[in-house]
Symmetry: C2
Subunit: 191 residues, 2 copies
DNA sequence: TATCCGATGACATTGAGTGTCATCACTAGG
DNA sequence: CCTAGTGATGACACTCAATGTCATCGGATA
């Protein structure tokens, strides 16, 4: 057996989610999270840069998955198609954890600081997508707007998925959201 | 003459921008900002909820302007047209301060915490726009996606405006961004 | 004149986040 | 078997953002 219990970051992550549910984010101190995980406050900050980040342990890997899938897309696809290819790949990472996703969502929605951090996560993904498009030769401005459209569809679909039953297909929801977005953006600007 | 120097919030805002430029956000302490404004740290926090918020003094009024303009739009306009009506109204508030906008942008871009707060501001505007659309009878999901599209165009246009010469017309840039977004979203999803 | 109000200062306190050094099981080289 | 090194952790002190509380005092009001 190792010198320390395994998966310190995972223990911290789980303890944090539990405590944020029990007492709320504001009324939970980092020292308490660490204690429940059998560690100290100082060690918490060796695994996570701050008290908010502990709720988003997957975001780094999601970026990789999306960017990789985009890189694998055939060269003749439209920018939007490439972006959706990326998000479709991300679906498979997220798909398993419906219950988990609901718990995290409830905690996040209850606190402005956590909502703010979640926005940063969406924006970071969007920035990675923008960059990936640029590397394919898409003009920066088009890349930014396409990434923003994809992010909007992703957020919309994810919201429906979390609110609805676990059996829903996130791929299908994503296609629906894109279709809705298309018709919304195609609407006339003047009479 | 009054008992205190007038416009405490404005003095704090200006002092903060100066200090963030001189030393950077991280290395500026709230007590220093307050001192330069002739006030105390405690009074800073009576005018702004935190050290980041002091860089976004106009955002609350911008929301009002946008929502009011949307409410004034004729009932037969498409959701996207209504949203653009709102942002067009916001242009006139922002248009004057090109130099100021550049200074703030430079400070914000140099610090992750400020970028995060800026995202929250864009998101708050977007949420207000979504709500205004819902009150017009637009379905929530369509409202969200349309608001997201408008926000993307707004950010894109604003970026171009700040980077370019002061003489540029932000209204025109906004129309350009919408046109770009339209063609990007209209692209085919499959071969 | 007496009273209240509203912005501010003064002071104390909490808790997030960081720097620094010690600890100690495990590992590799001799 | 011994020894030096490594890496995750604990212990401790410290800074600073943010908040609660009470005192102050010029001006407005009755």
């Amino acid at each position: 057996m190792g010198r320390w219990m395994p998966d310190a970051a995972g223990r911290l992550s789980r303890a944090a989610l539990e405590l944020y549910e029990e007492r709320g984010f504001e009324d939970t101190m980092v020292a308490e999270i660490a204690e429940r995980a059998g560690l100290t406050k100082r060690t918490f900050f060796r695994h996570f840069p701050d008290k908010r980040e502990v709720l988003f342990p997957l975001s780094a890997r999601i970026h990789e998955v999306i960017v990789d899938a985009m890189a694998a897309a055939p060269a003749d696809r439209s920018p939007l198609a490439v972006v959706m290819e990326g998000y479709d790949a991300a679906v498979d990472m997220v798909n398993k954890g419906h219950a988990q996703a609901r718990r995290r969502r409830a905690v996040i929605m209850a606190n402005p600081e956590l909502l703010e951090r979640q926005l940063t996560k969406f924006a970071a993904t969007s920035a990675a997508v923008t960059e990936a498009l640029c590397e394919r030769g898409v003009a920066r401005r088009v890349a930014f707007l396409t990434a923003a459209a994809g992010a909007a569809a992703w957020r919309d679909a994810r919201e429906c998925w979390i609110e609805g039953p676990e059996t829903q297909d996130l791929h299908a929801l994503l296609r629906e959201s894109v279709a809705e977005l298309r018709s919304a953006v195609a609407a006339p600007l003047a009479r």
